[in-house]
């Protein structure tokens, strides 16, 4: 009854073809790991015990920094003791390393001017005056802020004593702030919390006492309140504004509405949503990175080395596959072709899944993964070998080829399931209990094992049964690598004494 076999075959073939076509249509491609395309990976450890919240904050700060690098798939995650940053394919490795490692400082800078224009030439020194107020030294041309090609001050020029041009955090409108030298740093801040006062979310700021604290703050506050040239009134505001800058981005730039503040009674109101208030207070509280992170493990792989490894892996895989094909077809003939087709099906499905995971979930294929897949070739072929050898035994035991096919598959499949389940248990445990490369290996081992079972059950079994139904199969068992069917050979006893 070939209907069931035909249904299974049609099913698995359609699924494989559909998966391959969708992979191409969606443009899914496997995401290559650091070791295959080059890049930077840094594992940072907190120098002192850190809470999850602090590490999460560190992760989001690092992600903000890294976004500027144009890395396609940055992977930044919290580990038990720190942060893991992986930047495959990053061009500027030097900068990536310095960005990730440094503990940026929170700075208070007076706002000298605000420009809404995105045109760099409009940022020429003179243009700040007239339209907007500008701090005296810039206005007079005595000091020129360093401006990079993108119209902002580059991170390496963002120095504490210089005038800088920076953007607002989380703002894509291209608004630029011309800021004066830093007057106070994050060290001044004791605490910051979101508060719900007067029916709106505000951020309450608590400063330390002393000169590096509330006194320093009041010094600049008085100037801003009065609209002193070092902290002028901008855009028609009655008072000057003081920007709080983190990592080259303005977190918030409140107007100073009083000449003097109590150290624990500073309120920043800006029509915040709750989330914004949370965000701003987190940034203020932790200054920059909430914990000090030290690189514990740094890995830099140049793009050429990565490509070499990838090419070597791919060529080795293809050559290996070709040789396996020659061997298996030479040994099992037409059954060997079935085995190869079965391998092709699990390969197509595996490719689709790996590409999907790479594109959708950012799961990278590493060298360990590639080698895992190469090894999987051998194990996948084994499922076929187990069945075919079983067929041969049954035929020698006197069964017809067709009855061997029917009887043998459930037995062989049961063996394969037993053995594959052990592999799956191993893969699952490794996935759950380990980290890093070992985990990637476990994933691909598990995937390949499952697909091996799928291809065996849905393709190889039905295909062999279908072939067994043909007259060709009954007449030419040798073309299927099977011994001539039927009776027990008579010359058996002659070999009884042969030993290894």
């Amino acid at each position: 009854m070939p209907r069931r076999q035909l249904a299974l075959l049609t099913g698995i073939l359609s699924v494989s073809i559909l998966a391959s076509v969708m992979t191409v249509v969606w443009g899914n491609e496997p995401l290559l790991g650091l070791d295959l395309q080059g890049g930077v990976s840094v594992r940072l450890a907190a120098t002192e015990p850190a809470t999850e919240e602090m590490l999460d904050q560190a992760v989001s700060i690092i992600r903000d920094r890294v976004d500027g690098l144009g890395v396609a798939e940055p992977e930044i995650s919290r580990t038990e003791t720190g942060v893991m940053v992986s930047l495959p394919g990053v061009d500027d490795q030097e900068r990536a390393l310095s960005l990730v490692g440094t503990t940026a400082e929170l700075r208070f800078r007076p706002v000298c001017g605000i420009s809404n224009t995105a045109r760099p030439e409009a940022l020429a020194v003179g243009s700040w005056s007239g339209i907007h107020a500008a701090c005296s030294e810039v206005e007079s041309g005595a000091v020129v802020p360093a401006i990079g090609t993108n119209g902002y001050t580059d991170p390496e020029d963002d120095l504490i004593e210089d005038f800088v041009v920076l953007g607002l955090r989380g703002d894509a409108s291209g608004q630029r702030y011309l800021l004066g030298p830093s007057v106070l740093t994050g060290e001044a801040i004791a605490d910051a919390n979101p508060l719900f006062i007067d029916y709106q979310w505000q951020v309450g700021l608590d400063l330390h006492k002393g000169s590096v604290g509330v006194d320093g703050f009041n010094d600049i506050a008085a100037r801003c309140f009065a609209g002193d040239p070092t902290c002028p009134r901008v855009e028609g505001s009655p008072n000057g504004r003081l920007a709080i800058v983190l990592d080259g981005q303005v977190v918030t730039a409140p107007s100073i509405r009083a000449p003097e503040f109590q150290h624990d009674a500073i309120l920043i109101s800006g029509g915040f949503e709750k989330a914004e208030a949370d965000d701003v207070s987190l940034a203020l509280r932790y200054g920059a990175l909430p914990v000090e992170l030290e690189p514990e493990n740094t890995r830099v792989v140049s793009a050429t080395i990565g490509e070499d490894s990838l090419r070597a892996g791919v060529v080795a895989g293809l050559v290996g596959l070709l040789l396996v094909a020659v061997f298996i077809v030479g040994y099992y003939r037409i059954l060997g072709l079935v085995a190869l087709a079965s391998l092709a099906i699990s390969g197509a499905l595996l490719w689709a899944i790996v590409a999907h995971l790479g594109t959708q979930s950012g799961l990278a294929l590493t060298l360990a993964g590639v080698t895992g897949l190469i090894v999987a070739i051998g194990v996948s072929v084994d499922s076929n070998v187990v069945y075919f050898e079983h067929l041969k035994e049954d035929v020698r035991d006197g069964r017809t080829a067709r009855s061997s096919v029917d009887r043998g598959f459930p037995i062989a499949f049961s063996t394969i399931v037993k053995a594959d389940l052990a592999s799956l248990i191993g893969a699952g445990l490794l996935w759950a209990l380990t980290v890093g490369a070992v985990r990637g290996f476990a994933l691909y081992l598990g995937l390949a094992t499952i697909l091996d079972l799928v291809a065996t059950y849905f393709f190889m079994g039905p295909m062999v049964r279908l072939l067994a139904g043909t007259r060709w199969f009954a007449e030419h068992p040798e073309r299927f690598g099977l011994p001539a069917s039927g009776a027990v050979p008579a010359r058996r006893s002659a070999n009884a004494e042969v030993s290894a």
Partner: protein, 373 residues
């Protein structure tokens, strides 16, 4: 070659029980050597486990001596220098301070050539990874033992664990004796070997179970004899699978690492080659012999053994304790027919039996061919 041809024809040319003793002696010797080497020499732990810094510098003109001098001038005379490729020099030092590591890198770029790969590892990283791997390993052993005990039987679980442990000790021993460097890739290779060895052992055990299920009921053969038949019948599969598994790995070793110079692949491939060969060997020789020895002590098999030996002695055969009779194919077929329930004569429309899903008790007759034409 002759043996191989006989195996191919489905005969039973190998007397496995006779080979078990030398195999066990050999294995124990090698394991002891491996353990000794491990205890005395230890392992050549890579960067990830010891901490330190490595640089790969593209410097086509630099010799090892040049580089050593250059690095010594920087203050690291004991750094290890190695020519990886024609144009790449690998420099390993024990520098663990990140800032200093970066400074050295800049010096290398200025003095030797572009640094194509740079790795700096703190001392705690390897410990953490090792701890996790060891935990995973122990849990793995326990769970897999339970699994085999449930799916097959506990004696086989024991045999499989011994075989897997043997393979791991041997692979680690090879790394220790030949001073190969242990890297995270090596750890993965060991895990692959473990998985492969286990997989192979289960396939062999399942065959043993099938054969014992078919012929055990006749009570005419001892357990080692049945085991011998099963091993001979599964040997061709083991060889073929080893070959198809080894070919890609060999290709990785030759094409990938020797021809194309991907060094990461080389370490991996060497470990895997050892693992595949040893994995197949241990299934047929160690895992099988242990189960055979355990089963022979069982009441049922002891009685059968006594009976068989008694009959042989009666026949005037020579000392039979070491001799394993080869079970003929005709006997297997006969046992199948005997064990089969009575069928309607002429293979007529007998009642259809449900297809077997697993090798259970007795043999199953060939399914009657359906009349169709």
């Amino acid at each position: 070659m002759k043996t191989l041809r006989a195996l191919y024809r489905g005969e039973s040319p190998i007397d496995f029980p006779a080979l078990w003793r030398p195999a066990i002696v050999g294995s124990i010797t090698i394991v002891v050597v491996g353990l000794l080497s491990f205890a005395i020499l230890g392992l050549n732990l890579g960067l990830d486990f010891e901490g330190g810094t490595s640089y790969e510098v593209r410097a086509p003109d630099a010799t090892v001596a040049d580089t050593r001098e250059f690095v010594a001038d920087l203050g690291y005379p004991e750094a290890r220098i190695q020519l990886v490729d024609d144009d790449i020099v690998l420099i390993r030092s024990d520098v663990q301070d990140p800032t200093r590591a970066v400074e050295i890198r800049d010096e290398l770029i200025a003095g030797l050539g572009p640094v194509v790969a740079f790795e700096q590892v703190g001392p705690t990283w390897g410990e953490e990874v090792t701890d996790k791997a060891v935990t995973a390993l122990i849990v793995f052993f326990v769970v897999v033992a339970l699994y085999i005990a449930v799916r097959l039987e506990w004696k086989m679980a024991l045999g499989a664990l011994v075989a897997v442990a043997h393979d791991i000790v041997l692979s680690v021993g090879v790394y220790s004796v030949f001073r190969f460097e242990i890297t995270p890739a090596t750890v993965i290779a060991f895990l692959t070997i473990m998985g492969y060895s286990l997989y192979d052992t289960i396939v062999v055990y399942d065959k043993v179970r099938e054969i014992v299920g078919r012929l055990g009921a006749t009570e005419r053969y001892t357990y080692p004899e049945l085991m011998n038949l099963a091993l001979n019948r599964v040997a061709m599969r083991s060889i073929n699978t080893s070959v198809t598994s080894a070919i890609p790995v060999l290709s990785m070793l030759l094409v990938g690492s020797v021809v194309m110079g991907a060094t990461t692949l080389r370490e991996f491939a060497v470990a895997l080659m050892v693992g595949i060969v040893v994995g197949s060997y241990s299934s047929l020789f160690l895992a099988a012999s242990l189960v055979s020895a355990l089963k022979e002590r069982e009441e049922r098999w002891r009685l059968i053994g006594d009976k068989v030996r008694g009959r042989l002695d009666g026949d005037g055969a020579d000392d039979s304790t070491t001799h394993t009779r080869t079970i003929e194919r005709s006997d297997v077929v006969a046992a199948d027919t005997r064990a089969a329930p009575r069928r309607a004569p002429g293979g007529g429309p007998a009642k259809r039996r449900p297809a077997m899903t697993a090798p259970s008790g007795g043999g199953v007759p060939p399914r009657p061919r359906k009349k169709k034409r």
